[in-house]
């Protein structure tokens, strides 16, 4: 009976309207689409794009301040050259890229691990979740700048960083482990000292990792919630252990989120104010003289590096991502 209704209704409905109306509905809807994204478009083309062009222009020129205004003198690639010639910029840039290569996997893995933990049913889960997301809300900008200010002041006064570490909270309670202990532990095993140093470094920077992985944890949690419990149930009935279930079900299902999180981590750590390159750029910015233009030139080069790295990360991970639906 239902099929009859479906068959008969459209015939009656389409006759008076014909094709013209359906076409105009599409046009109408696309117009509404433009209307909805209009705020962003207006902002992008009227405010953002001019700023981008200005910024590019600044990076190629020298600013001469006049009374109540400024004049730009074109200097070609001079600013870029000065930036590249400064050995500090190069070393900071290379250092931050290598840091990133090591810290991105750590952050993503830690976030995934914590998300899986916080997704399990247990007592006090709400409290733990609330605690773990405090850094997302609280530890941006102001606290970081106060910490940085304090360490700077203590370096100036004492010339002693280690003493201040425990108070400023930069490293939670000083060092947790020293590399020597772990090395002696693993000396029998055939593990390279580089790996040991890496792991110990991560353990000692656990505060930083926890702080940086808040949003990623949230993204993983949302991904975990979207996996249907029916799949887990059928696995359980078939006798899979929870270890197997994680690798065969959870991991592939969450792999798109791993890509998203890796990309987000790269963007976040590159554009955060605590990044050493960003700090170097803002220091250069505040210098007297042509600092502002050089800083702009530096940050454009930095932007190109970010885009390149993002392309590499997305390319590598994209090959391994498993999509359940193709419509995304």
């Amino acid at each position: 009976m239902n099929s009859e209704v479906i068959k008969t209704v459209p015939k009656k409905a389409t006759k008076p309207k014909k094709r013209k109306s359906s076409g105009s509905l599409d046009v109408q809807k696309s117009r509404m689409g433009w209307l909805f994204i209009a705020p962003f478009l207006i902002g992008f083309f009227l405010v953002y794009l001019p700023m981008i062009f200005d910024s590019i222009k600044f990076s190629f020129s020298e600013i001469e301040m006049l009374d109540g205004g400024y004049v730009l003198n074109n200097v070609g690639f001079n600013n870029y050259q000065t930036a590249l010639e400064s050995s500090e910029f190069k070393s900071v840039l290379i250092g931050s890229i290598t840091d990133l290569i090591f810290s991105v996997p750590a952050i993503v893995i830690f976030a995934l691990f914590m998300a899986v933990l916080l997704n399990q049913k247990m007592r006090g889960r709400a409290i733990f979740r609330a605690i773990f997301f405090i850094p997302v809300i609280v530890s941006t900008g102001i606290i970081e700048s106060i910490d940085a200010k304090n360490t700077l002041a203590s370096i100036q006064q004492n010339g002693n960083l280690a003493e201040e570490g425990s108070i400023s909270g930069g490293s939670a309670g000083g060092q947790i482990l020293s590399a020597l202990d772990v090395k002696s532990l693993f000396s029998g095993l055939q593990i390279g000292s580089g790996l040991v140093d890496y792991v110990v470094g991560l353990l000692n920077d656990v505060y930083g990792i926890v702080n940086k992985s808040g949003v990623q944890m949230l993204i993983f949690l949302s991904g975990l919630q979207s996996i249907s419990p029916a799949i887990y149930e059928s696995c359980h009935i078939d006798g899979a252990s929870s270890w197997e279930t994680f690798w065969k079900i959870t991991f592939p299902m969450i792999s798109p989120m791993i890509l998203v999180n890796a990309v987000y981590t790269v963007i976040d750590s590159f554009t955060s104010e605590t990044n050493s390159v960003m700090q170097h750029i803002s220091q250069t910015y505040e210098q007297i003289g042509p600092g502002e233009e050089i800083a702009t030139a530096m940050s454009w080069m930095y932007f190109l590096v970010i885009v390149l790295l993002l392309a590499v990360v997305a390319g590598i991970l994209g090959a391994y991502v498993f999509y359940q639906r193709k419509d995304v």
Partner: protein, 396 residues
Amino acid sequence: MDTSSMTKKELKEYNKQLKREEAMKKIRAQEKTPFLMRLRYKYLTFYYGKQLLWAFFRLVLLVGISYVVLQPYISKIASSFMNVDDFTNVKVLLISMNPTLDTYKAIITENGYFEALFNTTALSVLCGISQTLICTIVGYGFAKFKFKFKKLLFVLVIFTMIVPHETLQLSMHQNFMNFDVWGLWNGIRNLFANIGEMFSFEGGVGAWYEATKEEFIAAGAKSPGFMDIIFSNPEGLAYGGNMLNSFGPIAVLSLTGLAFKNGLFIYLMRQYFNGVPDELEEAAYVDGAGVIKTFVRIILPMSSTMLVTVFMFSFSWQWSDTFYTNMFYSSSAREFVLLPDIVGIPESLETDITLSAYNTAINNTAGLLILIPLVIVYLFAQRTLIEGVERSGITG
């Protein structure tokens, strides 16, 4: 019952019944296994042991990492109650020997805490509301409508996320110092110049408006209009549309979806709306609601948790932001005092250049004072916040 008076058949049946009852008693007795035995069967198994071990391990891990997260705040809170002498006293580690509230008092009274709190609250709430609305609208537009260049335009959203804001620092500063988009802004300003006189404001807003207007006139402006007073400051009038030290720059950035991490919010909202079934809107259209009515009456109320999530992000990131506030609001002039400006050592506290731990503690106390309102808001909103992110259904 008298068994002798029964027939053989009856006797047989009676015996059967007795046996049955006995069997039932036995079964009942079996069900009542001793308490200890039941415990043994339930808890002394391999499965339960494994479960318990895992739960214990998990608890230790979670508590440990929670400690790592909270430790800096614990030590900051502890040191905020300390006296000067406590910092030279070797015995004092966390708990003060003579606890005092002087640090709090000095910062609140001398560093203009309440003025900064008022300004920052106003700025953050305005930011939060406008960014949430704009990002929701834009995200909805990207998720639910088909139009040309949609993918390309979304790449632009991602582009705004990737460009480090240091890149635009100089041009943004210049741009908002002389804000005028191809003459449009001045046109709008002139159009609305007399709107302040058209509506007679009363009460606090009116008084503020009049006072600010007088300030402008004192600074040399001939006839400051409505838009000038809202979006610029007295000193800047020499340059025309100088928006620095006012709500202007942040308002413009928020209303166009370009403020701090708005690309992320647009992305989140788009993902969320992608997961909302189209049938919902189709039903509304069939019932005769237009696109905008459907959005306002059905989509917005439905996605309240997501709205709270995005609001919390934008609100708290604006609250603790230092980049934009440093750029747009000069802290030296103290015209528009915001919370980051209160970090500093009050004059009444006796500090010594050698006592860097004490100075650190004072700065940290200022930081705590900045965070307290934020933490209170977070405590109320955290459940909805986490729920909202969980529901967003972000996929690749």
